[in-house]
């Protein structure tokens, strides 16, 4: 009888150890591989940058859901005509900004703006150098973005169409390089003005500014928050409007859709007051897409 009990106990111990052995089999490689498998699955459903869809497609998403959100979408539809979705891979803010900005240049052919952003990019390069970044770690990403800027301006051999811009935005060998370019620019700006950003960062995580940049800005797939948006907008001198769509409501039950304009600190204050940002992003908790005004 006792022997039998011991057998059972041994057997249990065996299953226990084999279970822990099983767990040990999951090496970091496996986890990373599984991670890429999940990303591949996502890729089939949503390209990096989607097609332009009417705002009503947003409504369809919530048809069973929250009435406050539905009412807010109604309010949104008075001002906005369309939405362009981006993949929820942690790079959605940068990817939305990339497409939104390059499309804006393609449509407006604003040579002054291109001149202006190029000067700022040159500054960003100097910032990274002075922070001690080895040039070869970022130069390819900078060069590739400058190439995209030139190609959306029409009239040269390398000029591209709207369709080609969309193709490039879906091609990882271009799209990911541009996202990484923005991550470098953002990180450089935060570290350059670390005194300004420190209180924001301490409010989010309990880490140093440098650690925050290393772990939450520079790695691909790390999500962006207002800290990253402020930094990118300031560094490039590009205003960004973010429209917030969530379940919050006002006390008096009136339905308002809030937005916030991120206006670069360095920009001319007169300009920033009078002009609306050309880039509008829709924020839903955890995700950014592109919005098109009417």
């Amino acid at each position: 009888m006792q022997d039998q009990e011991r057998d059972v106990a041994d057997a249990e111990k065996e299953t226990l150890t084999s279970e822990t052995d099983d767990w040990k089999k999951y090496r970091d490689d496996d986890i990373m591989q599984q991670h890429s498998a999940i990303q591949a699955e996502q890729a089939v459903k949503v390209p990096f940058v989607g097609d332009k869809e009417p705002l009503s497609s947003l409504e369809a998403e919530y048809h069973l859901g929250n009435s406050i959100v539905l009412k807010k979408i109604k309010v949104l539809s008075e001002q906005y005509a369309a939405i362009r979705r981006t993949r929820g891979d942690g790079n959605c803010f940068f990817r939305s900004f990339m497409f939104g900005y390059l499309e804006h240049i393609l449509d407006s052919q604003d040579h002054n703006e291109v001149h202006h952003i190029k000067a700022n990019i040159e500054e960003c390069k100097k910032t990274l150098q002075s922070l001690g970044y080895a040039e070869f770690t970022f130069e390819d990403f900078f060069a590739l973005f400058l190439e995209q800027l030139d190609s959306v301006l029409q009239g040269s051999e390398d000029s591209i169409s709207h369709d080609e811009l969309l193709c490039r935005s879906r091609d990882p060998s271009i799209s990911d390089y541009v996202v990484m370019f923005f991550r470098f620019v953002t990180s450089g700006e935060i570290r350059k003005r670390s005194e300004f950003f420190e209180p924001f960062i301490l409010g989010l995580t309990n880490t140093s500014v440098e650690q925050f940049c290393k772990s939450a800005v520079e790695p691909m797939g790390e999500e962006s928050d207002h800290v990253q948006i402020i930094a990118l907008s300031d560094a490039l001198g590009v205003p960004i409007r973010v429209v917030y769509l969530d379940r919050s409501s006002c006390e008096n039950n009136s339905i308002n859709v809030n937005h916030h304009d991120f206006i670069p600190t360095s920009s001319d204050s007169d300009v920033s007051k009078t002009t609306n940002p050309s880039i509008t992003l829709l924020y839903r908790p955890g995700h950014y897409d592109i919005l098109y005004p009417k």
Binding site: V44, D51, Y133, E218, M220
Partner: protein, 178 residues
């Protein structure tokens, strides 16, 4: 970088929906030339830097596989020991980190018996801002400042609090490679 892109993309292309298969072979679409150029720059930078206690060099005929060396820092239990490492770079480097392993056995809380290293910057916290030099410096400082809370080698983690005994263990197990 986009020269190959114009030729195979008709202007009226339908939206390109990458299939999972394509995503897995992403590496191939990345320009190999730019990876080679980057690795060559890294080698130059490493040779020029003159950092003490770290070095690395590509294997013969293959710039995607490097052998590295780090020495234990002064005033740590690893002082006076030297470790060989292998670094193998994926085709989509620097978007993905190189695989780095200890070739010399290393009794350390974050290194397992096969030489695998548990270090966040070689996994989910990797970014293109790192390079061979900063990887080796990070591993060198990991030696003296292990992460005891998530050990790969639990015996080493348990012994860490007794530095005198730990040093004896390092000396006992150290087998320098020739």
């Amino acid at each position: 970088m986009n020269s190959g892109n114009n030729s195979n993309t008709p202007a009226t292309a339908a939206p390109v929906m990458p299939s999972p298969k394509q995503t897995q072979t992403t590496a191939k679409t990345v320009d190999t030339q730019s990876v080679l150029k980057r690795l060559q720059s890294e080698l130059m930078a490493l040779m020029m830097s003159g950092d003490s206690g770290i070095s690395a060099f590509p294997e013969e005929d293959n710039i995607f596989c490097w052998k590295g060396t780090i020495t234990g820092s002064k005033d740590t239990v690893f002082e006076g020991t030297e470790y060989k490492l292998s670094l193998s770079f994926p085709a989509d480097y620097p978007f993905k980190p190189p695989k780095v392993k200890f070739e010399t056995g290393c009794f350390h809380p974050n290194v397992d018996v096969y030489g695998n290293i548990c270090l966040d910057i070689l996994q989910d916290k990797w970014s293109s801002a790192y390079d061979v030099r900063t990887i080796l410096i990070s591993i060198q400082s990991l030696l003296g400042e292990p992460n005891i809370s998530s050990p790969l080698n639990t015996q080493a983690a348990a012994l860490w609090c007794n530095q005198e005994e730990y040093r004896k263990m390092v000396e006992k197990l150290y087998k320098p490679s020739v």
